[in-house]
Subunit: 394 residues, 2 copies
């Protein structure tokens, strides 16, 4: 069999290990006593429009059309609804002919990178980064190059970025709001990134594409703006998923939006279609395509995540821990009081706090705390964090 | 951008071209006067259990669990239901730990071939074959080798098969009932195939896997048996999809079943999990996983397809055309009275009969007629076939 695939299938992810430990522990001491902050699974219900729309769609008279194949790039009505939403909110150039419906964020990224990269190319991203980026880049025949972020803000360190850009750089991949840091790139960061990539593209004689992975776009707190990539940099592609905004992670529905102003945009869009075909994606799930078109612009009640963030961030800071303040997503990336994050996680386990070491996200000395959990659980977990802090005399 | 992906995206399939022509023509002369036999889109409604189950699932109190991530290999309850169905009907060894839920048949095949193959391997299949097999094999780094079938029966020509098996053969891919011929492999064919592959595996010193692509398993007419591959050959993998049996092609739901008796089955299953991960499949759509578990063993009313086949086959034979009798699927593969199938299709177009040349399926001198259409349309199309036959003085 294929050895790369066997390795990928047999090496269980650290997150999954911790999650399984949590389930076993819950049987021993009761689920209410285990504080599992390991998974990025939305805890807030889908908005009412999800159930209402499903009920309406299911009653449609033409059941074969409802569940039938759509065109490979997605149903035209659906792509029009999404393009109109993007035009109204972010980018007046959005056009249904540059939208490709996908089976969620992982598909959006694998397809986009496969469309862009040739064997030996490099995809640059910024640590901390979502653990699967490495896998997606390698599927596209490319190598993931991670650049350390500014440790105080987790915004981009441009000196470090410039040092890695080169003749093999095909794309730069950003994720804002970020998993695992929760940090949102501000306008200044995005504008400077655009400028840097323009110069580098000229210097190295080929276009460096900017790919924006943004399943957390709507999960921002306190009116923070998430700058829209295509408005700052022309050779850009937005990868979106409804998993978090509509709390539908299992339904696998998202899209790719190729900036129509990009030189060769039409050809690039065709390469996206080709990559979808090559990877075995025939079309995105039909019923959920029709659903997202009717729920466009709606989100789950994200105020719950904001409250969770505030409660947890305040308490952790009071205990003496330190985190960069997350403006979005539903993660806190906390500095560990000892350099070995895995050792810290083991100590946390004694108090039944399940956290994920940052090592897998390309950052040593941190843990990820996924606060997409019930506010009750957070309240119950606070004393455990306090005890953990005391162990380190914080 | 990636040139392979661009080519795959920009080269429109012949089937799609014909379908688009049909839509334009329908605007000119009315849809009822265009006889479009180009697409393999089920025309029969999903069975009642689909709507009933969806309505029940949507009312489940825990909406976040309903639409949440399942484990990567699929929900345990779902895999148990499917394993139990396979045990009860086909293979008493079936086990949920060897079932991997997929985003439909194309995903099942791309994942399976990626798990099996290394760069430079060969995947052997039998012409006529589904056009996308070549793409799926190439994504896995392999080369598709097509073997001509016995022209009288479209069963396997074993001399020709033996001539291509070699040290690079990693897998043999079968599709019964077949798209586009409608032919079902009988027990004799499958038993001899197993024997041939056992000998070849021994001769070349490595296992040759048998992959069975069977989305049409339940679409058979007149009590014809579809032998279950794992009962005949141990190193075997079944790729299944609910697209045709439940008329849900747009929802993208199927599974891979690795024969647990295969040497190294556990490792192979892990490679399947790894390939799913590498190709960007996080999990199969959650709602439809739960749906198929509750509709297991149910099918659409396939008697409609049988009537269509009988009407069309009788009429075409009466007109003087010749086809191998299809026992399953919803396709007729008809010999063209002139050697150039494309020229024949052009002539057919004059009578607004839209057929697909066999060249794309690896067989010259044939056309595919997809009879998954309304019986009314077939009745209206009969005179057109008659006129076409007269042109050739049949």
């Amino acid at each position: 069999m294929n050895q790369r695939m066997y390795q990928l299938g047999s090496k269980r992810s650290v997150i999954r290990e911790i999650f399984e430990f949590g389930k076993t522990r819950a049987q021993e001491i009761g689920a209410e006593n285990v504080y599992d902050f390991s998974l990025g699974n939305p805890s807030v219900e889908p908005p009412a429009c999800v159930k209402d729309t499903l009920l309406k769609l299911i009653e449609e008279p033409d059941q074969t059309a409802l569940h039938g194949y759509t065109s490979a790039q997605g149903d035209l009505f659906v792509r029009r609804a999404i393009a109109s939403h993007i035009r109204g909110n972010y980018d007046e150039n959005a056009d249904e002919n540059y939208i490709y419906m996908t089976v969620g964020a992982a598909a959006s990224l694998t397809i986009t990178l496969s469309a862009l990269c040739e064997e030996g190319d490099e995809v640059v991203t910024f640590a901390p980064y979502f653990t699967e980026y490495k896998v997606f880049a390698e599927t596209a025949g490319a190598r993931l190059v991670a650049v350390e972020s500014d440790p105080d803000t987790f915004q981009i360190d441009f000196e470090k970025l410039e040092a890695v850009l080169g003749k093999n750089t095909r794309a730069v991949l950003v994720n804002s709001p970020n998993n695992p840091s929760g940090v949102v790139y501000n306008r200044e960061t995005v504008a400077r990134l655009a400028e840097t990539l323009e110069k580098a593209s000229e210097k190295f004689g080929h276009t460096i594409y900017l790919v924006s992975d943004e399943p957390y776009r709507e999960l921002v707190y306190g009116g923070v703006e998430v700058p829209y990539i295509t408005k700052f940099y022309t050779p850009s592609i937005v990868c979106y998923s409804y998993s978090k905004s509509l709390s539908l992670p299992g339904e696998r529905i998202g899209y790719i939006y190729v900036n129509p102003k990009t030189e060769g945009a039409k050809e690039l869009y065709l390469a996206v279609c080709g990559a979808g075909r090559a990877l075995g994606y025939v079309c995105a799930p039909s019923l959920f395509q029709k659903l997202v078109a009717r729920c466009v612009g709606k989100t789950s009640d994200v105020s719950v995540y904001r409250k969770n963030r505030d409660t947890l961030l305040n308490h952790l800071t009071k205990c003496g821990f330190s985190c960069v303040r997350p403006d979005g997503a539903f993660y806190l990336f906390m500095k560990t009081p000892e350099p070995d994050a895995s050792a810290f996680c083991e100590r946390a386990k004694k108090y039944d706090l399940l956290l994920v070491p940052g090592d897998d996200f390309g950052c040593k000395g941190y843990v990820r705390i996924a606060y997409c959990v019930s506010p009750d659980m957070i309240a119950r977990a606070l004393p455990a964090f306090e005890k953990l802090a005391k162990e380190y005399s914080l």
